[in-house]
């Protein structure tokens, strides 16, 4: 979609929403290309707008952001200074002291985000009406906000702690601005978490974790079983909560880039890309085409090696060592390509704000093309032999089924959504980077729309369909890489003076970007990691080189609740397989 059509769509929505909620909307404006910000006068009014957007415009809740804006100084002075800007910053108004809450919705058909902002002016006891009864996927966001900010959603039935465990003192909220990051906390040990009790004759509880046998990150799983069948599972995460969002507030923009790469080591490109894009969108600077091409290649390499690793893990959990060894060999090959092209096996240090750090040379590009065709052949043969192995396929079929309804209700995304026939993909719905130029209608290798629909409807949401989705995505990623690499090589062939051109193409110094940022401005950044949509929201501080608030929502956060539903009525020995077929990150969740 071109820039003009998006602008027209947005102004249509703008007038629609403004007419409907004339009294309760203070300001409605468009910023950062495709964000429509709606500032409402009070939380109750914003609930109405939210329901309208969710029901009538068929949008998905993608994240909820809370910010502590109590201590922003000199807002009145600033208002005069920035009056002539067309995109006024919503914080400039003097009445907006206190916590502000943003509900972000994404329209999957058109490339538009709706951000509904409400300001909670009651600073001592900030509350807002919960939307859980209408939009179930909000439950985890609301619990997270109540833990980190002490901003309570009235009407949320689950009042237990989510992020901070019981040892954390009561009434101490780490993401508030008056909480000092260096403060040492005295742990208290007299409280415990209430798991959902399943009672009855023959019901047993099996606690698993947080320390596991094997090289896994910490997480606790509480099974209630009847014989071998799992009646209920409750997951408890956040054992290694690192305080990334708080840590980012002490950092400059370029330091936070390193942090964003390490949110989850295997999603390093996706996360840093989302972060960089947030800042690039804020500064409204288009980056060089070659930089987007390199980003795309790396993002797809990352997707391939992770999917290969997941399939290998599924083979291990089924007890099919041959398959897992062969998959691991392919994975290792991709990781060596990573190392050759970027110097890091996990693709750290690719992105920088305003472009990329590394340039992939034509020699390496040819090597990538070469290797990837070999890998594709091996992979195709291997998948065929996996599909012919009954012990493998029997274990996957019908295991860990999730329904279409659960996916839509709980707002899952990525492979987990696609395996149940819900067609969401950020690369397609909100094209970014070089995906804009690629033909993404055939995003999963299927050109015909009708047959794609048929294909989607056939997916049952079990481990087998997750396996198949991953297989399709690997093949498609290989296609994307081949296309992108040939695009770069074609362009190079046309330009004879490559070397001088390349240098100009990639390096866009940060200083030039910094001057485009306005104090307390904010933007969304998003990317599709191999797990699903990762959504970042960055707000710069008074000094535009510093971060005021950095909200991260990775795909794992949305998808973890689904695993509790998937294992119900399965047997305990299938849990590792289901868990691996989901392939969720603990680290990306325990921010």
């Amino acid at each position: 979609m071109t820039h003009d059509t998006i602008g027209k769509k947005i102004s249509d929505y703008k007038s629609l929403i403004f007419e409907k909620f004339n009294g309760s909307i203070e300001k409605i404006y468009n910023k950062n290309y495709n964000e429509l910000c709606i500032l409402t006068s009070n939380p109750e009014a914003s609930t109405k707008v939210i329901y309208f957007i969710y029901d009538n415009l068929k949008c998905r809740l993608v994240t909820m952001i809370c910010t502590d804006e109590r201590y922003i100084e000199n807002r009145l002075d600033r208002k005069g200074e920035y009056n002539n800007f067309k995109n006024e910053i919503d914080l400039m108004d003097k009445s907006h002291n206190g916590f502000s809450l943003r509900h972000v919705f994404s329209n999957e058909v058109e490339d538009i985000f709706f951000i509904v902002t409400s300001v909670l002016s009651n600073v001592d006891k900030p509350t807002y009406p919960s939307i859980v009864s209408h939009i179930p996927s909000a439950v985890y966001y609301e619990r997270e906000i109540s833990d980190m900010f002490g901003v309570i959603a009235q009407g949320n039935p689950d009042t237990r702690k989510l992020v901070l465990h019981e040892q954390w003192p009561v009434n101490l909220f780490p993401l508030r601005k008056d909480f000092d990051i260096k403060r040492r906390i005295k742990r208290r040990l007299n409280d415990h978490y209430e798991y959902l009790k399943v009672e009855g004759e023959g019901i047993c509880e099996i606690p698993v974790g947080p320390v596991h046998a094997g090289i896994i990150e910490p997480g606790h799983f509480r099974f209630s079983v009847y014989g071998e069948n799992i009646v209920n599972l409750e997951t408890r995460l956040y054992y290694t909560h690192k305080g990334i969002e708080k840590l980012a507030e002490t950092m400059t923009l370029s330091e936070a880039l390193l942090l964003s790469e390490r949110i989850s080591g295997d999603e390093s490109v996706a996360n840093s890309m989302a972060y960089c894009q947030a800042i690039e969108r804020m500064a409204s600077i288009p980056i060089r085409k070659k930089a987007t091409q390199i980003r795309t290649i790396c993002a797809e390499l990352e997707r391939i090696w992770n999917h290969l690793g997941t399939i290998a893990g599924m083979c291990t959990d089924v007890g099919f060592a041959y398959g897992s060894s062969r998959m691991n060999i392919l994975k290792e090959k991709i990781m060596r390509i990573n190392e050759k092209s970027s110097g890091s096996r996990l693709l750290f240090g690719i992105n920088r704000i305003g472009g990329v750090k590394v340039d992939i040379k034509p020699v390496i590009l040819h090597l990538i093309l070469d290797e990837i065709t070999h890998i594709r052949q091996d992979f195709d043969n291997l998948v065929k032999s996996l599909q012919n192995t009954s012990s493998f396929m029997d274990r996957l079929k019908g295991t860990g089924i999730i329904s279409n309804k659960d996916v839509l209700g709980l707002g899952a995304n990525g492979v987990i959504a696609r395996c149940a026939g819900v067609d969401v993909d950020t690369r397609k719905n909100h094209p970014y980077s070089y995906y804009r130029y690629l033909d993404l209608e055939n995003i999963q290798g299927i050109i015909d729309k009708i047959s794609y629909e048929v294909e989607l409807n056939k997916r049952k949401g079990d481990a087998l369909s997750r396996f198949e989705v991953r297989v399709i995505e690997i093949k498609h990623s290989i296609d994307i890489i081949q296309k992108t690499v040939t695009d770069i090589l074609d362009k190079n062939a046309k330009n004879d003076n490559i070397d001088s051109d390349v240098n100009n193409d990639d390096i866009l110094f940060f200083d030039s970007l910094k001057s485009h940022l306005k104090p307390y401005d904010s933007a969304l950044g998003y990317a599709e990691s191999h797990r699903g949509q990762t959504m970042h929201w960055v707000m710069v501080g008074k000094d535009t080189n510093r971060i005021f608030r950095y909200k991260i929502r990775t795909a794992s956060f949305c998808n973890w609740p689904l695993i509790e539903l998937a294992v119900q009525n399965n047997i305990v020995p299938d849990f590792p397989l289901i868990n691996k077929s989901f392939d969720l990150s603990y680290s990306g969740n325990d921010l």
Partner: protein, 214 residues
Amino acid sequence: MKKKDIKSNVLNKSRLGYKEKMWLNTKDKLDRDILKNKRVTIPNPIKELDLIPENFKGKINVVSSKDIHNIGLNVKGEEIENICPSNAIKIKNIENSAAILTIDNGKCFLCGRCEDVYPSFFRMGKNLKFATKNKEQLIDKVELALQHQDRESVNVAINEKNSDLTYDQIGNSLKEKINSLFGRSLTIRQVDGGSCNGCEIEITALNNPIYDVE
């Protein structure tokens, strides 16, 4: 793929379950496949130097320790320390135009930021061999245009700093005990203190057929 092909494919798939498909293809493909493959395990990955790519991000080296005046170390000492996000770089005794620069490789996570900002001073080498027997040896010390009369005092300062590394002493005594119980087999114990899961991925990669630590 053409439209027709896709449609026929879709139909075929829906008509045949995977079991039926499996029976069609049973030709002991798997067995032949296993025998066809060559050995992939490499005996010593560190020795295979051609594996190391050109832009490998290895150990940080200090390139030109002699021309510290060129970059104005006296003024910028603190700035250089601050450039490292994990505080691995420390500069001591900046007075008298003499200094000791220490790089703690235990803290360094190879982000390459120091190289980006001071390319004339730091460089990421191709060196793979980080591993040492104790934590003290991980700290690299580089003398920067040190004058003779200051050398002693600086050395004393460093020794004092090192003497309070009590974790190492605990670790050493523990190691002796473990060795006496389990001998010298390689064991990897990992404590997740909030990793980004990159370490887990690489430790798991040790078990793949190419490196195959077992």
